[in-house]
Structures are given as C-alpha cells and as structure tokens.
C-alpha cells in the first residue's frame, strides 16, 4: 500500500479544500485562484509532454484548449439548459451532475482528434517548421470558431453557469472546483505514469535521437501520435473546465497570448520535469494574480521574467529533474522502488 502515498495525500488535500470551500472559509476569490491554478497545471504539464519530453516546439496549445472548451460548453448548454440557440434542454437539467464528466471527456476527445492536425505533419517535419504548423493550427481553430455563427462566432458563447447551477441544485457543492481538482490530479497521474514507463521513455529517446529511436525498434510515428493526442486531449479538458469557471468564452481568449502563457510556465518549470511544471503553474498563476493591480504592465513584467530566466537559468527551475531527484529522500517517503535492483 506504500506506493499509494502520493495519491492518498492528494485526496486528503482535495477533501480538505472542498470542505473549507463549502464552509466559506475559502472565499470565492480564493476558490477562483485555486481553479485557475488547477487549469494551469493541466495545461503546463500536458504541454511539457510535447515541448519538454518530446522536444518539439508547440505554440498552439490554446487552440486545443478552445476545441475542448467549445465542445464541452456546447454539449452542456444543448443538453441541460434552455438556451436561445438550441431551445429547451434535451435531457433533464438535473442529470448534468452525472453527464458533466462525460461531456468534459468528449471535449478532450475532440481536442485529441484536433491534435492529429499536428501529429500527422510531424511525421515529415520537426523543429521550427512544426512550430509554425502548431501556430497555424491555433489560428485555424480560432478563425473557424469566429466564423461559426451558430455558436456565437466572435461574440462568444455563454450559458455554462446555469449548467453548474443545476448541478448545485441537486447537491450543493462547489462542482467546478471539484472537477478541476479531479482533472488536475488525474492529469499529473496519467502523465507521470506514462513518462516513467519504458513505453513512454520512447518519446524521450525520440527527442534525443529520432533516427536511433526508429532503428532501435521504437515506432516513432505511433509515439508521436500518442504524445500529441494525449497532450492536446488534456488541453481540451482544461479548456472545458476553463469555460465553466468563467461561464463565458469567446475565440479571442484562445490566441497565441494564451499559448504563450502556458509556454512560460513550461520553460519556467523546466522542460521534461512534471514537478517543475506543477510548481511553476502554481507560482505563475499566483504571481499573475498578485500583479493584477499593475494591469497591462503585468505583460511587461512576465516576459521580463522570461528574459532573466533564459539568461541566468535557461534550463528552468528544475531542469530535467523531478522533485524526487532533487530530494532523493522523497523517493523513500513516497515508497518508490529503487531504479536498479541491487
């Protein structure tokens, strides 16, 4: 049972957060920040899979986020609310509480399929050229949504708050917060297990030397598809949650600005370090909140941080190391196995 210590710790932490939120000890503002932290963690760790572990340079993460956000929101609004676009709800609004995780997953699957738009070109090209393709995909998504008048086009799409409200009517709990906590935990859990398996290490081999990887029996095309779809799928789930935190989304939210924000988190934390991405997602989200009084100047300060980082610590806070490498004792406390049998 020892190896479940990290999971157990996380569950206790989440339960505590929910109880405190329910008891209004954590006010709505703090809850909001916690939710943004969770979403940032999902975005940063999932982007790290592509940019850090696989060594490609994706600058279009917000595009996948948008796909997930719109699919989940449209499904929820269509199924559970009385909207001006889709008319009366197709299902009883109270059933949203059961179906919410499914629509979230649908958004993730949709975004993962959109990830193929990058995965397939990646068979033939890489590096700078692939980065331009990811940028293009970001704009394709944004512009497509802007031109779909059915879902609001450039004006945006709303109605998600009534979905959350109908969930609260059934059981009065902070549902968005709960789902964000679950999704954040699941994302880190999935990615950690994937990249620490020998199968997942295939993508690190691919980054170090793609030709050697292919010749040493790694099916590089399949690994690329898995990595891109997993990364974009998780971004899609983050998007779905993001839409339900705000209750309103428009295509302008999911531009390269948003992608850059996630990139900063990945590079701040260290490429190829999941714990680095988690730490920097927490730190940067809090910092951005703290800089809020500076208004637009925060977008002067954050890039400035990035310049300083690249000058003095280009590998990021953690480099390629995990917390367990920095503090080897953690391995024992967390009940992890030694790396090599004695």
């Amino acid at each position: 049972m020892r190896r479940n210590i990290p999971l157990l710790g996380y569950v206790i932490l989440c339960a505590l957060t929910i109880v405190l939120a329910k008891a209004d000890i954590l006010d709505l503002y703090v809850q909001m920040i916690l939710m943004f932290i969770g979403i940032s963690i999902i975005l940063a760790t999932s982007l790290n899979l592509v940019n850090g572990y696989m060594g490609e340079f994706s600058v279009g993460h917000a595009g996948f986020m948008a796909v997930g956000a719109y699919i989940t929101s449209v499904l929820n609004v269509m199924l559970f609310t009385n909207s001006s676009i889709f008319g009366p709800p197709l299902l009883s609004p109270s059933s949203a509480i059961i179906f919410f995780p499914l629509t979230l997953l649908a958004g993730g699957i949709g975004a993962a399929l959109a990830g193929l738009l990058v995965a397939i070109p990646s068979f033939r090209t890489r590096g700078d050229y692939l980065a331009i393709i990811t940028l293009a995909v970001n704009y394709i998504v944004k512009s497509s949504i802007e031109n779909m008048q059915v879902i609001g086009g450039a004006r945006g799409f709303s109605g998600m708050s009534s979905v959350i409200n109908s969930m609260k009517e059934v059981v009065d709990l902070p549902w968005t917060l709960i789902w964000i906590l679950i999704a954040t935990g699941a994302t880190v859990w999935i990615l950690q297990r994937f990249v620490s398996s020998i199968y997942g290490k295939g993508i690190i081999a691919l980054r170090d030397d793609e030709i050697a990887a292919e010749i040493m029996s790694v099916n590089t095309q399949r690994m690329k598809v898995v990595a891109f779809m997993l990364s974009s799928g998780l971004a899609g789930i983050a998007g779905g949650l993001f839409a339900h935190v705000l209750g309103y989304i428009n295509p302008g939210t999911f531009t390269i600005m948003k992608s850059t924000e996630v990139l900063v988190m990945v590079y701040l934390g260290g490429m190829g370090s999941l714990s680095g991405s988690v730490l920097s997602a927490i730190g940067l989200t809090i910092a951005l909140e703290a800089f809020r009084p500076l208004q637009v100047y925060k977008w002067v300060i954050v890039p400035l941080l990035l310049i300083l980082l690249m000058l003095f610590r280009p590998e990021g806070l953690m480099g390629q190391r995990e917390l367990t490498d920095v503090f080897p004792r953690l391995r024992r406390w967390l009940g992890l196995k030694p790396k090599l049998s004695e």
Binding site: S197, I198, D208, I215, M216, S217, K339
Partner: protein, 261 residues
C-alpha cells in the same frame, strides 16, 4: 543457411549512384567485413538493409523473407540490430534506460496499460529490465548503469551502444566502424569483445571498419566495395594480396609502370 541475402542492390541519391548491383550472402554465425575507401557507400548499404532508405532497385532478404521497404523499427523487430558510425545513444536517458527503451517492440503493451499499470504491464516491464540487467552484467558496465552516456569515456560509450543493440536479441548484428576514434588499448578490447559476442550470443556479425587490425583479426570473410560496386571478396589474407584492393586504397601505381602491364 543464409541469414541475409542481398541481390542486385542499387541505390541512387538523385543522380549519384551510391550503391550499384551489389550481391552478397551472409551465412549464419559468420563474421563478415565490409570495407572500402571513404565514400565507397558502406554506410549506405547498412542504411539500406536497416530500412533507413528504400533501395532504388534490388532486394534484401532476411531469413528468406524480403525486408526491402519495411520501416526501420519493423526491420529491427525481425532481428537485425545495428550501431552507428558516430555514437547515437540517447543522452538524457541513463545507460540502463537506453538498454530498456531499445526493447520497445517487445513491450507488448500500449499507452493505456502504461497508465493503468495492469499485471501484464508489470510482467513485461520486468522482463525488459531483466534482459537489460543481463546485458549490463555481461558487458561489465553495471557500475555505470545509472550514468548518462555522455558522461562516459568514448570506449565505454561504444560498449554501451553495442549492449543496446544486443538487448534487441538480434540474429544479425551490424557494427558501423566500431573502432572509430578508439585508442590502441580500446581497440584490443573491442576485438576481444566482438569475438566473444559472436560466441556468447551465437549471432552473425557484419561490420564496417577502417581499422585494418580489427578487420584482419576479426573477420572470417570480407567484401570490398569502391564507388558502390564490389571489387573483391575473400578471406582477410586473400584481400591483403588483392591488387584492385591495394589500388583502391593506395591509388594507381606509377603511370609508367601501369603502362608496362
């Protein structure tokens, strides 16, 4: 039985004829050499066999089955492993992980199982780790197992790269200039290592080499190519005497002399 049969293999890079009408057969358990001056097309032949290039013409048969046109990881899965002229280890994975990842095709599980960690996941990871540890012990590199390859001396990196290829449990091992950049002491060790590997693992070895001491000491038979074409084949002592080979390596003899012939 012939393990590898190459027939009428031809390859063009645009207008450049890199390999032309090459025929050769490797018998099981043989230690075969492929030599030739720089730019003769030796590495191209290896790249054609390992599936990195698709041959313009001709066929490659491995254990009686055509492998021309397969993707490299498919060729490898059939039992052909190789090393590279310039060492291509994965430098951010430990030596141990290098040896594990090279058994990717034998994992037998995919993304879902890597996350859910089912029983079959654990058993196949255990098997892969066991193979890697066996090879590590056989090559005597346990001490360096958790080091990153880039931190090791050159000779050891070569050894790790050969180990990584052996983890694939190949029937045919192709070594592309294994002695390149080695000092004389390392070359002696390498000669012993290559022979020992052939006997220990009972496999066929095909190597490209410039180092005459390695070729003459190790190979049973060798083929010499120049400008992508075969110019000689035979045992090391036959090749040493062959006039065309000497010409290819040392250039034409004096024009006056040549005229007299």
């Amino acid at each position: 039985m012939a393990i590898l049969e190459i027939s009428e293999l031809t390859h063009f890079f645009g207008g450049l004829r890199a390999v032309y009408d090459l025929n050769m057969t490797l018998e099981g358990g043989e230690l075969m050499g492929l030599i030739g001056p720089n730019g003769a097309g030796k590495t191209t032949v290896f790249n054609l066999v390992s599936g990195f290039y698709r041959p313009s013409e001709g066929d490659v048969k491995f254990c009686g089955k055509s492998i021309a046109g397969l993707r490299p990881h498919q060729v490898t899965a059939l039992g052909i492993a190789r090393t590279f002229q310039n060492i291509r280890l994965w430098n951010s994975l430990s030596v141990f992980d290098n040896l594990c990842v090279s058994q990717h095709h034998q994992l037998g599980y995919g993304f879902l199982k890597s996350v859910l960690r089912t029983r079959s996941f654990h058993s196949s990871e255990r098997k892969v780790r066991k193979t890697a540890e066996e090879i590590i012990d056989l090559l005597g590199i346990r001490h360096y197992a958790l080091e990153l390859p880039k931190n090791l001396p050159y000779g050891l990196q070569r050894r790790v790269e050969i180990g990584r290829a052996l983890c694939l449990r190949p029937k045919l091992l192709m070594l592309d200039e294994p002695a390149a950049g080695m000092n004389p002491g390392e070359v002696d060790q390498l000669i012993k290592l290559i022979r020992w590997i052939r006997d220990e693992f009972k496999l066929t070895i095909w190597l490209i080499e410039h180092h005459m001491r390695v070729v003459m000491n190790v190979c049973d038979r060798m083929k010499v190519i120049e400008f992508g074409e075969e110019i000689a084949e035979g045992t090391p002592s036959e090749i040493q005497q062959n006039r065309r080979v000497i010409q290819a390596y040392l250039g034409e003899e004096e024009p006056v002399h040549a005229h007299g012939m």
